[in-house]
């Protein structure tokens, strides 16, 4: 009953809404998409339509970073917490800058400097932050599922900035945003994701985003660095970069994450580089307009030769720039969804 009243009230408001009323009329005519998630946990659960909506929204944020006043007011008076339980420079700075460009206040929280080192649980940490009146939590955690757990436990919006080897949704969003910029659309594109797939949350989020948008994804790497559940994933698998390099439109080279690798997944760095590194020689066999990506930070000479990383096919720095626009869009959208829920 309450809900119905609310709709009626809103409807009447449109009618007397002048300029805004006009705006709504356009939306009712067109197919107006409505973003309803107060959290962004992963891309696995998102529809293609939702992903496209984030990417389209991000276009409107791109120019904020290029003008003289690099700020807009939509999150004015909101507080964003960067809750990072794992080291990160790029993603943390990108989120902090995105939040401040939207006029939010940003609190930086790292594991080392917090009560977590005194034994506080994740939930207690979050509840304490929430008691201070925060609006959005950006969380990175080594445990897969931590962002989901948090989203269920607190009222604030939760944005996943990487959980274990599960998902890193904003990285994948900026990847597909960059590919769209270069190629127009992902429909029908062949994309190789190369390297340590098993430990890579980027590979997983990329896979969901890219396949939902119509691309064909191939995981490339040594068998020791492949995940165990390959047959359940919507991807092709190749154990040879030479086999796929001449066929793909986009190649995403993952970083070898020495900090996560146990045992001896490959005999030597030089051998890995010989079979799976993106070399100048391999680039000669690739399509001339192949898009070369890397989520950073690069181990130069290992995953990729410097000439390739700095070459004309590389969009690595463009990815970083786009990351800002995409993260601004995500922060804006979750906050909008939360504002609607609270009304």
């Amino acid at each position: 009953m309450n809900r119905i009243l609310n709709i009626v009230e809103r409807h009447t408001h449109h009618k007397s809404g002048g300029r805004h009323g006009t705006g709504m009329a356009i939306m009712r005519k067109g197919k107006q998409f409505r973003w309803q998630r107060k959290d962004l946990i992963g891309l696995r659960d998102l529809t293609a339509e939702e992903i496209i909506h984030i990417l389209d929204t991000a276009r409107g944020f791109e120019q904020i970073s290029t003008r003289s006043v690099k700020k807009a007011p939509p999150l004015r008076g909101k507080v964003v917490v960067n809750l990072f339980f794992e080291d990160s420079t790029r993603t943390r700075n990108s989120f902090a800058l995105a939040a401040s460009r939207l006029s939010a206040d940003v609190i930086e929280f790292t594991k080392k400097s917090s009560a977590v080192s005194k034994g506080e649980t994740l939930l207690d940490t979050a509840r304490n932050l929430e008691a201070m009146g925060i609006d959005i939590v950006v969380i990175r955690h080594s445990a897969a599922g931590a962002p989901m757990f948090l989203a269920r436990s607190i009222k604030a919006c939760v944005v996943n900035a990487g959980d274990g080897s599960c998902e890193h949704p904003t990285q994948a969003l900026l990847d597909v945003y960059t590919i769209r910029q270069m190629k127009g659309s992902l429909e029908g594109l062949k994309i190789a994701i190369v390297g340590d797939i098993a430990h890579s949350r980027v590979a997983r989020s990329d896979m969901w985003a890219m396949t939902k948008l119509g691309a064909e994804v191939t995981f490339v790497g040594p068998p020791t660095l492949m995940p165990g559940n390959l047959d359940q994933l919507p991807v092709n698998v190749s154990y040879s970069l030479d086999e796929v390099i001449d066929k793909v439109d986009v190649v995403n080279m993952l970083r070898i994450q020495f900090e996560r690798l146990g045992g001896n997944p490959f005999p030597s760095i030089r051998e890995y580089s010989r079979y799976f590194g993106l070399t100048v020689e391999r680039m000669r066999r690739a399509k001339s307009d192949i898009v070369v990506m890397h989520p950073g930070p690069i181990n130069r000479g290992l995953e990729m030769e410097s000439e390739v990383a700095d070459g004309s096919n590389s969009v690595i720095l463009q990815q970083v720039t786009n990351g800002l626009a995409v993260r601004m869009a995500v922060l804006f959208l979750v906050n909008q969804a939360a504002a609607e829920v609270s009304t």
């Binding site: 700020k71 939509p74 609270s342």
Partner: protein, 175 residues
């Protein structure tokens, strides 16, 4: 629903606006037109074409998206989820005399948002407001410098500007 301006009348109002703007703007002023998405964008393009003809020189034209500057983004009275679109202004607005174009001036709230959005892009010499239709109902101290038509409508009524590019026909109606 009553038609208050037909296609021909819209064109003639825009020509009148261009004529007035051309006649009152000092020749040393560097004119540029900026339309507020989405109807204002289309009207701005038409006005820029008419003005270019009047002045015998090209008048630059851009589009402003005011979504991020709206005052109802976090308000319970918001009119639903707005779509963020791009601002496309391919020239420097510093020291220019900007003609800000919108379809209807009603509460003045979107004009306030547009002014804030513009100021974040630079420091124009002046900003003037041109609208196709002006009506009562101001909530902010904002008035139009140039208005094509003054519509006499009550608070419960809505002025809808339809343009061929977005709505399939050119007409202004009162609902």
């Amino acid at each position: 629903m009553k038609v208050i301006l037909n296609a021909e009348q819209i064109e003639s109002k825009l020509r009148d606006l261009a004529e007035v703007i051309a006649s009152v703007t000092p020749p040393e002023d560097d004119l540029a037109i900026i339309g507020v998405r989405s109807r204002g964008e289309i009207l701005a393009q038409r006005l820029a074409a008419a003005l270019s003809e009047q002045l015998g020189k090209p008048v630059p034209c851009g589009t402003l998206d005011i979504t991020l500057y709206r005052d109802d983004l976090n308000s319970p009275h918001g009119t639903g989820q707005p779509l963020v679109r791009t601002t496309e202004i391919g020239f420097d607005i510093d020291d220019k005399t900007i003609i800000l174009v919108d379809d209807v001036l009603h509460t003045g709230r979107s004009t306030r948002a547009a002014l804030d959005a513009l100021i974040d892009l630079g420091r124009p010499k002046a900003i003037r407001l041109a609208v196709l239709v002006e009506r009562a109902g101001r909530e902010f101290p904002i008035q139009a410098d140039y208005a094509g038509y003054k519509a006499d409508v009550g608070p419960g009524q809505k002025v809808q500007v339809n343009l061929i590019e977005s709505d399939g026909k050119n007409e202004v109606v009162v609902e």
